[in-house]
């Protein structure tokens, strides 16, 4: 079980619990605004862009090449950008805070 917090573009903070699946799925299942996951989680659409709050970057690890490629030219990308479909929910992510990029 991991408690994960999303902060939407309207500065609404929503904490939800998850045990498996991707962070994108967790967000979609909880109707988090700004996370659409149109492609279902295969790193093809970039509609699940989040910024990892800086203190949690060690927990989320590094993006792989395709994910970086999808993010590189997005105007909303910064050094904390990730596509949440590429992050798996596990206890390691307990307490992590994501800001929805859109």
């Amino acid at each position: 079980m991991a408690k994960i917090t999303f902060i939407t573009a309207d500065n609404e903070s929503i904490t939800v619990e998850g045990t498996s699946g991707s962070v994108m799925e967790l967000a979609v299942n909880n109707n988090i605004k700004g996370i659409d996951g149109d492609c279902g989680g295969v790193c093809s659409c970039a509609t699940c862009h989040v910024h990892v709050e800086s203190e949690f970057v060690a927990k989320t690890g590094q993006a792989e090449e395709l994910e970086n490629d999808m993010l590189e030219f997005d105007d909303l990308t910064n050094e904390y950008s990730r596509l949440s479909c590429q992050l798996q929910v596990s206890e390691d992510l307990d307490g992590v805070v994501f800001k929805v990029a859109k």
Partner: protein, 413 residues
Amino acid sequence: MLDTANQVCVVIGASHAGVNFAFNLRKEGWQGEVILFDSDPNIPYHRPPLSKSYIIDGDLNSNLLKPLESYKKDNITLKLGVKVSSINRNIRTISIENKGTQKYDKLVIATGARPFIPPISGIDSAANLFPMRTANDAIEIKKAIDSSEKKRVIIIGGGYIGLETAASLKKTGASVTVLEREERILARVTAPVMSDYFMELHQQNDVQILTNNNVSFIKTENGLNTVFCDDETSFEADIVIVGVGIRVNTELADTVGLEIEQGIKVNEFSQTNDENIYAIGDCTFHYNPHYKRYLRLESVQNAVDQSKVAAASICDKDLIYDTIPWFWSDQYDVKLQMVGLSNGYNDVIVRKEETENTSFSVWYFKDDALLAVDAINNGKAFVLGTRFIKGKQKINKTKLVDVSIPMKPTTFL
């Protein structure tokens, strides 16, 4: 704020378009009832993975568009496994087979399409013959593969559905042959360079693809099919999968006088010629402002975008459909991402990156105008292509083809 508390919005088709629409409608502030109907009994699911990962892992629950609780939370009623038989525009009701009628104030048609089964002699009596469109199709294919000893699969049609299914079934240990009628696979949607690439990819993975092979008839004896082609070659098949395209489900709309032209014709708000009836997704024939023509698309992008536009319009918000189509396909470990529509191209630039793993992109132009990009394992080309097409960016083709120039937003100007 529009008063919708006593109104009913009915959606026919709990598809990617229909389900997204229902949730978008709530986001836009619709207060009244939202009822989704579908003849498919399964909780609404993502369709693209069916031919990709689903056929291997077979877990429909990890494939849902939304969990059941989300529908409850947003007060969206799902009526699954029921068939809508007609629409009555005059009194604004729909009839449900064996279950009476349902009133609507706004109706959204998201009926999508069904697989086209070509009139091949013997096709109706073939054993273990399936299309690939619904979860049930994928489940049945998986069952047939699991219970087949020799697992010889013939796939009729070398389009994306056929090729993705071929790649997935190969991973399950099947022996797979694809029969394509045209002289190359993906002939309708890509340049020859892409057809060649996928042809080779499948051959490397031990999937046989035979082009110029038109199936003429199928003979079935004791559960074993023999598929015969025009040139009199024949193939034994334990399982046959048909992926030769679709027919649009326009019948409900057609019989009540909604305008039909290749699909249900809609305006920029995804509204039909009846102001209380909208249509979204694969079943629509809609105008694309960028390409300045009406078109029909089979894609998640179109389903998602039209679901937003229709929900906004019903809630009196100003949003028009104006997007660049995009698509993707996964075969083996290769990711193909496509943006734009290449129809009418007269020039193709292929840019091959100097990377260890295959990574290239195909840029379709009509004279100087960039129409579309196909990107193989190259998210950058997909993202930049999208940006260039949207911005009607003029591209320096000499620079584009030169891989010593890195791919950046400004390097090809």
